[in-house]
């Protein structure tokens, strides 16, 4: 799915997949930190966004 989104032009770093157990708090923190860093580096997303106005 990530591959097809990337193929359509949604940057790879916007979509992340992870498997985290409820007991893996540190992994959760690490993954969220990594995701937010990568996404903020990309800036706001303009693709696949529905304008409701």
């Amino acid at each position: 799915m990530g591959n097809l989104l990337e193929h359509m032009g949604v940057e790879r770093d916007r979509v992340h997949f992870s498997w985290i157990s409820s007991a893996e708090a540190t992994k959760f923190v690490d993954v969220v930190r990594e995701i937010s860093e990568k996404v903020s580096a990309l800036g706001p997303n303009k693709k696949f966004v529905k304008d409701y106005n």
Binding site: G2, N3, H7, G9, E11
Partner: protein, 315 residues
């Protein structure tokens, strides 16, 4: 193709005569030139209605399911692969279907031919590789190879993979150095150019759903686009909804699509919706070594777990 249709008619007549099947599903002449429509024939009197030529671009496997009694079906390479997919996905039983295999030399791209004429096409004749197409103002002789559909040009399974009888001699399969040049072209673009490509591709979409209705893979009782609770995707012409529809429709075909081209064939707006599914076909081949509809004993890759499945996208 003349001898082939004679054989198809003879086989169909014989099957109906002996009562081996209740209906034969094939192609009939369309109401306009350069068109054929699917037909189900239940009696020998109707046998002359069956035709087979280079405009039979729809996929008959779409009509093989939800039939009562035994049916016979005319199957090109791609149709037969979709029949295999139907059997694997329990949509039909093998002993319920009699497959008349037709080795295929490719189907013609009607938009490509129509673009060569300024006015409406009134006649379409075919003799071997030569096509004679006429409009009111002119007649052109075309080589079929020049106006083949893109998916047929890149087809590596022209012969039926599963059949009970053949209507013609098997044809030589193409060996392609790169089966996915079209996907590579898009992959070479940067993110914004990719997005622009798909935005332009779908900008004329009228949400008629012809692509999903022509697709043999789309057999869900209620399609996600028609679902009201929850409503997965808006029903109007909003661009994001249109893109969401195309994205999800394609993804539902992941690892199942045989690139038969029925979606493109059915599209009234000439949108190459294969640009979505082709990427998934390439991934299926590269990540899972999988081409859909070749083996009755194997489940599609997204339907089965294997410890060897690629995992590197999960953190």
């Amino acid at each position: 193709m003349d001898t082939c249709i004679k054989k198809i008619r003879a086989l169909a007549a014989d099957l109906l005569d002996k009562g081996e099947v209740e209906r034969v599903i094939g192609f009939a002449k369309g109401t306009i030139p350069m068109a054929t429509s699917p037909i189900a024939i239940g009696s020998k009197q109707e046998i002359e209605k069956l035709v087979f030529n280079s405009t039979c671009g729809l996929n008959l496997a779409n009509f093989a399911t939800k039939q009562k009694g035994k049916i016979a079906i005319i199957a090109k390479g791609c149709d037969s692969r979709n029949i295999v997919t139907h059997i694997v996905e329990n949509q039909i039983k093998r002993d319920q279907i009699y497959i008349i295999g037709v080795p295929c030399n490719g189907m013609v791209d009607k938009f490509k031919i129509a673009a060569l004429f300024k006015d409406e096409i009134t006649q379409f004749e075919e003799a071997g590789d030569t096509l004679t197409v006429s409009s009111v103002s002119q007649t052109q002789t075309l080589s079929k190879q020049d106006v083949l559909r893109e998916n047929c040009r890149l087809c590596t399974h022209r012969n039926p993979v599963l059949y009970d009888v053949l209507a013609a001699e098997l044809v030589e399969e193409q060996v392609l150095e790169n089966p996915f040049p079209d996907v590579d072209r898009i992959e070479a673009l940067d993110s914004d150019a990719k997005w622009e490509h798909f935005e332009n591709l779908t900008k004329n979409c009228i949400r008629c759903y012809a692509c999903k209705n022509a697709c043999p893979l789309c057999y869900c009782p209620t399609c996600f686009v028609d679902e009201a609770g929850p409503q997965w995707v808006g029903k109007g012409q909003n661009k994001t909804d249109v893109d969401t529809f195309h994205f999800l429709r394609a993804f539902h075909c992941a690892g199942r699509c045989t690139d038969c081209g029925a979606c493109v064939e059915a599209c009234p707006m000439g949108i190459n919706v294969r640009d979505f599914t082709r990427k998934l076909n390439k991934d299926a081949l590269e990540l899972f070594g999988w081409e859909a509809g070749l083996d009755l004993t194997k489940r599609p890759p997204l339907d089965a777990y294997s410890p060897q499945d690629p995992n590197d996208f999960i953190k």
